[in-house]
């Protein structure tokens, strides 16, 4: 099933919404830069976000799926024990 509306209509419907979202990301990165440095290493979530942004701009399709995969744990065996109940949104790479 394809998108039932043409590209121009996609832009008409969604441009303003995503213009705002891009500005949110830009402002978040600026806020992060302005904040006092409290660690010598970048937080793994920020590294994951930068990787996601690279995918966003690589000119290939299927961006949403590939970004989801970039945030994902690709190990295949169950872990020994759950140390927490929540999730952090990105995988800490050792």
């Amino acid at each position: 099933m394809s998108v039932p509306i043409p590209r121009s209509k996609v832009v008409d419907l969604y441009f303003m919404e995503h213009r705002a979202k891009v500005l949110d990301i830009a402002a978040f990165l600026d806020r992060h830069d302005r904040a006092a440095v409290d660690s010598n290493e970048e937080d793994f979530r920020m590294t994951a976000l930068r990787t996601a942004i690279e995918i966003l701009l690589d000119g290939q399709g299927d961006r949403a799926r590939r970004i989801q995969e970039s945030f994902s744990d690709h190990s295949t065996e169950p872990i020994e024990k759950a140390a927490m109940q929540g999730a952090l949104g990105a995988i800490r790479k050792s």
């Binding site: 989801q68 994902s72 169950p78 140390a83 109940q85």
Partner: protein
């Protein structure tokens, strides 16, 4: 007219029932889940299961909404297998209740060995009692791995027909995996951590409208009990046909849930 096939009304106000009815909701199904804190005894679960099978159907009926439920111990409280097995002993009694459609939402949370063992044991209960299964997949970074572990466990351990299993909370990276294995899948419309109405509509466009539904999973966290009608509006706005919108939000849930004869929306 629509069905919200996954919403946790024990966490919502009566006003939400009123607004859902006004928006066209005719039936909901409510899986047993984590209450936001760990219960301290199996008796706590017994009371919760009574709430799902006695109290909530009455509250929903006041607004002309049919209420159905699923019974299980959820994966967030499955890390202690001894405790989980005590709760699991309660399940068969509740499977006989007139509004219970099956076992759910079972699944994985952090993809641990204990969670997987308890998941497999609850799948076995569903198999033994010939029940439909509703599956929770993990959040965020754990979803892809957990979805694969869940499907592998079902295929490895049982002869359960995948057409009687719905794997919920799929997103862009898991929808096709689930559909390709013959399971049903659900997309949860939830702020920040799951699908938006726009992305859910994208997924339907990419992978089709067969064996897929939308739900709000409205609960005690930031969530929206009107997410399903909002997604219907998004699909309409984008030019999808009335037939496709009805199929996703009514026909498909009716088809899957109707495999249990108790479901008559």
């Amino acid at each position: 007219m629509y069905i919200d096939p996954h919403i946790h009304m024990v966490s919502r106000t009566t006003d939400d029932y009123a607004r859902m009815a006004q928006a066209g909701c005719v039936a909901i199904t409510e899986p047993a889940f984590w209450a936001g804190f760990d219960r301290s005894s199996p008796a706590g679960f017994y009371d919760y299961f009574r709430q799902l099978t006695e109290s909530e159907p009455r509250r929903a009926a006041d607004f002309g909404i049919k209420h159905y439920a699923w019974i299980c111990i959820n994966p967030k409280e499955a890390e202690d297998p001894g405790f989980a097995r005590e709760v699991m002993q309660l399940i068969p009694e509740f499977l006989d209740k007139p509004n219970v459609l099956g076992v759910g939402e079972i699944g994985l949370n952090k993809n641990s060995k204990n969670e997987l063992a308890i998941f497999e044991e609850q799948v076995a209960i569903a198999d033994q009692y010939n029940q439909l299964i509703l599956i929770h997949t993990p959040h965020l970074e754990d979803k892809l791995k957990g979805t694969k572990l869940i499907m592998d466990a079902i295929k490895r351990n049982t002869n359960i027909d995948p057409g009687r299993v719905l794997i919920d909370h799929v997103e862009e990276h898991t929808a096709k995996l689930v559909l390709d294995e013959g399971f049903w899948c659900g997309m949860t419309l939830y702020p920040d951590t799951k699908c938006t109405p726009q992305r859910a509509t994208d997924i339907i466009e990419m992978y089709g409208s067969e064996r897929i539904w939308i739900n709000s999973a409205g609960d005690w966290g930031c969530s929206d009990p009107l997410a399903v009608p909002k997604c219907r509006v998004e699909m309409k706005r984008r030019g999808h046909s009335r037939e496709t919108i009805e199929k996703i939000s009514f026909g498909n849930p009716q088809r899957f849930l109707g495999q249990c004869e108790k479901f008559t929306p």
